[in-house]
Symmetry: C2
Subunit: 202 residues, 2 copies
DNA sequence: GTCTATACCACGATAGAC
DNA sequence: GTCTATCGTGGTATAGAC
C-alpha cells in the first residue's frame, strides 16, 4: 500500500476536545481539571499542552465549535425550508437548534452551560460569533412577524430570548437517550406558537 | 437602656452568605474562592470557618435558602389567589417565582445557576426540597388542567419543565435594574398561555 | 469572633528526554 | 507526540493567640 492512509490529522486534538467538552458540561469549566481531562483521553496532562496553549484556550475552541454547530444547523434549516410557510420554517429552526444541542457532540450544550461563567477574556473573544447567531434568529422572527405569522404586537427581542432560553434550559432535564428529539421539537414549537391555554375557554 | 438590643445574632453569618451567593452567581461555585468571599465580606478567610465547616457547607446552605425563598413565594401566591380564576392564579405564581429570582437576594438565582454542576453530595442533600417545590407546580398545573384552563391534551410534566426552565433562563438576560419585573411576568404569562401565533391567521 | 501563621494539596503549566 | 519530573501558585482548611 503506497497510497497514503486517509487519516484525519486532528484526530488526537479532536479527541481531547470531545472529552474536555463532556467534562466541562458535566462538572463545569473550573471543576474539570486538565489532569482529569487527560485521564479521560488516556494520556498525561503535559501532553495536552502539545495541542493547546492553555486550559482557557481549550475552552475557547470548544465554545467556538459549539456556536459553529448551531450556526450550521440554522443555515441548513434555512435552505431546507426556503419557500415553506412560516410555521414550518420556525419548526425547522427549532428542531435544528435542538439537534445542535443533542446530536452533534457536546459542544453546543457545553457552550450553553458554560458561557455565562467563563473567564472574561474568553467570553469577550466569543461574543461576536454569538451575536451573529442571535442575529440570525432575530431576522427569522422579524420575517415571521412581517408575514403575519406572529401576532402584530409581538416583541421580537424578548420572544427570541424566551425561545432560545427555553430550548437551552432543556439541557437540564431532557435526555436524548430516553426522549425523542422530534417530540421535544414538536412540543416546543407548539407551546411557542399556541401556548397552553384551552382555546374553547378563551 | 437595659432593654436588650434587637440584634440579629446571625448577622455576620448572613453577611457571608450574601457575598458568597453573589460570587457563586457571578463566577460559579468553583471559581469563587473562600479568600475572595472573605475579602468581599471584609474579613480573613480563616474567619469564614468559624461560621461554616467547609466551602461545600456554605453552598449547601445557600442552595437550601434559595429553595426556601421560592417556596415561600409560591405559598404566598397560593393564599393570595385562593378563589381567583385559573389564569390569575397562574399569573400570580409566575410573578412569585420571578420575584424569588430577582427580589429576595441572590439565593434563588444562585440555586438555579449552580445546582446542576454542584458537587454530588451537595446535590443529593438538596434534591428532596427541590422535588417538593416542583411538586407544588405540578399540583397547580394539574388543577388548571382539571378546571379546563389548559388545553385537555397538555402534558403537565413537560409544560412545567418548559415554564420553569424559561423563567430560570431569564437570569441570563434579564436585569431587574433595567427592566420591570411586572412586564417580564406579564410577558411570560402571556406567552405561556397564548403563544406568539397570530390568532387571525390560525 | 476575628486574627496571623501555616500546613497540605491539587492546580495549571514548563523543561527536556525519547 | 507523548512521556517523566518538577516548578510555582493559589486552593481549602487548621492551630492557636487575642
Amino acid at each position: 500500500m503506497t497510497i497514503a492512509e486517509p487519516t484525519v490529522e486532528t484526530a488526537g486534538r479532536d479527541r481531547i476536545l470531545d472529552e474536555a467538552a463532556s467534562l466541562f458540561l458535566k462538572q463545569g469549566y473550573e471543576a474539570a481539571s486538565v489532569r482529569r481531562i487527560a485521564e479521560a483521553v488516556g494520556m498525561q496532562a503535559a501532553s495536552i499542552y502539545h495541542h493547546f496553549n492553555s486550559k482557557e484556550d481549550l475552552l475557547e475552541v470548544i465554545l467556538h465549535r459549539g456556536l459553529e454547530v448551531m450556526t450550521v444547523a440554522f443555515d441548513d434549516a434555512s435552505t431546507a425550508t426556503l419557500g415553506a410557510p412560516g410555521r414550518e420554517r420556525l419548526a425547522a429552526h427549532i428542531r435544528a437548534h435542538l439537534a445542535a444541542l443533542y446530536e452533534n457532540g457536546p459542544y453546543t450544550a457545553t457552550h450553553v452551560t458554560t458561557f455565562r461563567t467563563a473567564p472574561e477574556n474568553v467570553r469577550t473573544t466569543i461574543v461576536p460569533q454569538r451575536d451573529a447567531y442571535e442575529a440570525l434568529w432575530t431576522t427569522l422572527l422579524n420575517d415571521l412577524l412581517t408575514s403575519g405569522v406572529l401576532t402584530p404586537d409581538t416583541a421580537v427581542g424578548p420572544a427570541r430570548l424566551m425561545l432560545l432560553g427555553g430550548m437551552n434550559a432543556s439541557v437540564e432535564w431532557f435526555d436524548p437517550q430516553r426522549g425523542s428529539l422530534d417530540d421535544l421539537a414538536h412540543l416546543i414549537t407548539r407551546q411557542t406558537l399556541y401556548g397552553l391555554s384551552n382555546p374553547l375557554k378563551n
